[in-house]
């Protein structure tokens, strides 16, 4: 039972194939635009095991955007465009998901995690591991080591302070997908213990979904 909070912008058929491939994924985040076009959602869910499909949207957050929230139609992940917008995200008193990928890792650092800890509302970090893993195979990609080092430090800090960390494989296509077992192995290679990996892959995704459902009711 594991969670992959955002599989990437896969089409409906690709999501079905992904669910067949990944036998351990329970909480699966699917792009909300693609999920609307799905004709047979029941077929996706009839795999003989419990699956939670979460509609997701990933948007970038600049300085002029309106007040960010967790979202109603979909769970919104916010990717900051600058250091200022990242810090502003941390200070808003609403539950928010801050996306950490190859481009936003420059703004989401240890200080950001400290600010997120100080906020009264629950804050989540969402790590898009797919981009980092893809850069391992790209000899032209610069600063891979530095980014992975920073990523490990930020996740470690967040786990220490109790800020939720959710891992997802934001893959551009099905052939570049990372299954939850793969996410687990990458995290193992980065040096996280079994407990930390279970927190990131099992506990925090469920907590996030629970929080979202509670905000819908309110």
């Amino acid at each position: 039972m594991r969670g992959n909070m955002y599989v990437g912008s896969l089409t409906c058929d690709e999501v079905a194939r992904y669910l067949h491939l990944d036998e351990e994924a329970t909480v699966v985040g699917v792009d909300a635009k693609q999920l609307v076009t799905c004709e047979n959602v029941e077929e996706l869910l009839a795999l003989g095991r419990e699956i939670v499909l979460v509609p997701r949207t990933i948007t970038s957050f600049g300085d002029v955007s309106k007040a960010p929230t967790l979202g109603r139609e979909a769970v919104v992940g916010l990717a900051p465009l600058s250091v200022e917008s990242a810090r502003r995200l941390a200070k808003i008193s609403a539950p928010i998901i801050v996306v950490m990928d190859v481009t936003t890792i420059r703004f989401v650092d240890k200080a950001q995690v400290n600010y997120m800890r100080q906020s009264p509302a629950r804050k989540f970090l969402e790590v898009h591991l797919g981009g980092f893993v893809e850069r391992i195979g790209d000899p032209k990609a610069a600063n891979l080591n530095r980014d992975l080092h920073n990523l490990g430090n930020v996740i470690e800090r967040a786990l220490k302070l109790g800020v939720g960390v959710v891992v997802s494989s934001a893959a551009p296509s099905l052939s570049k997908i990372l299954l939850t077992t793969h996410l687990d192995i990458v995290l193992l290679y980065m040096g996280f213990t079994k407990r930390e990996r279970r927190l990131m892959l099992e506990l925090y995704p469920l907590e996030l979904v629970k929080l979202w459902i509670n905000t819908l009711r309110a």
Binding site: K176, L178, T181, H182, I185, V186, L188, Y189
Partner: protein, 156 residues
């Protein structure tokens, strides 16, 4: 006892003697060092704390999702190519990876890893990212074991 007439040559002689003694001592020390150096080198803490790496043998059960008509030979080639791409050529001197069996109908394979303790971790990482690097089969590591017989049960 010694008068002023003897004082000057004595001083000169003692200076010369001292210089010769110093020279001999230095030369001796160099010779001594020459003999001591290999012994000290062998007894330094770095040599004492150097780990004798243990050779560990592990078997990995892998679910292989491949395209139609892929063979075991092709899978093994992909595996070694991916390892070389991800870990480099020097990795082969430390870890030995070989494909033991591959059942296409069940979509499962067994891989043997022999090497030091880190090898298994590195090979697991390579297995899980190799479809991003090469674009072949998607391999999902299912189980790690030290005994081949346990995995054989899962294969059939």
């Amino acid at each position: 006892m010694f008068g002023g007439a003897y004082a000057e040559p004595l001083a000169v002689a003692s200076i010369i003697l001292a210089a010769v003694a110093l020279f001999l001592a230095l030369q001796n020390r160099q010779m001594l060092w020459k003999y001591m150096e290999p012994i000290i080198d062998e007894l330094t803490p770095s040599a004492l704390t150097r780990k004798r790496t243990k050779r560990v043998k592990r078997y990995l059960l892998v679910k292989a999702v491949c395209s139609e008509g892929s063979t075991a030979r092709q899978l093994a080639e992909d595996l070694s190519k991916g390892l070389q791409l991800a870990m480099g050529l020097a990795h082969r001197t430390r870890c030995e990876v070989s494909l033991i069996s591959f059942r296409r109908d069940a979509g499962k394979a067994i891989i043997r890893v022999v090497g030091d303790g880190n090898c298994v971790k590195e090979v697991l990482l390579t297995l899980s990212i190799q479809h991003l690097l090469l674009g072949g089969c998607i391999l999902v590591p299912l189980k790690t074991s030290g005994l081949l017989s346990r995995l054989r049960k899962a294969l059939h």
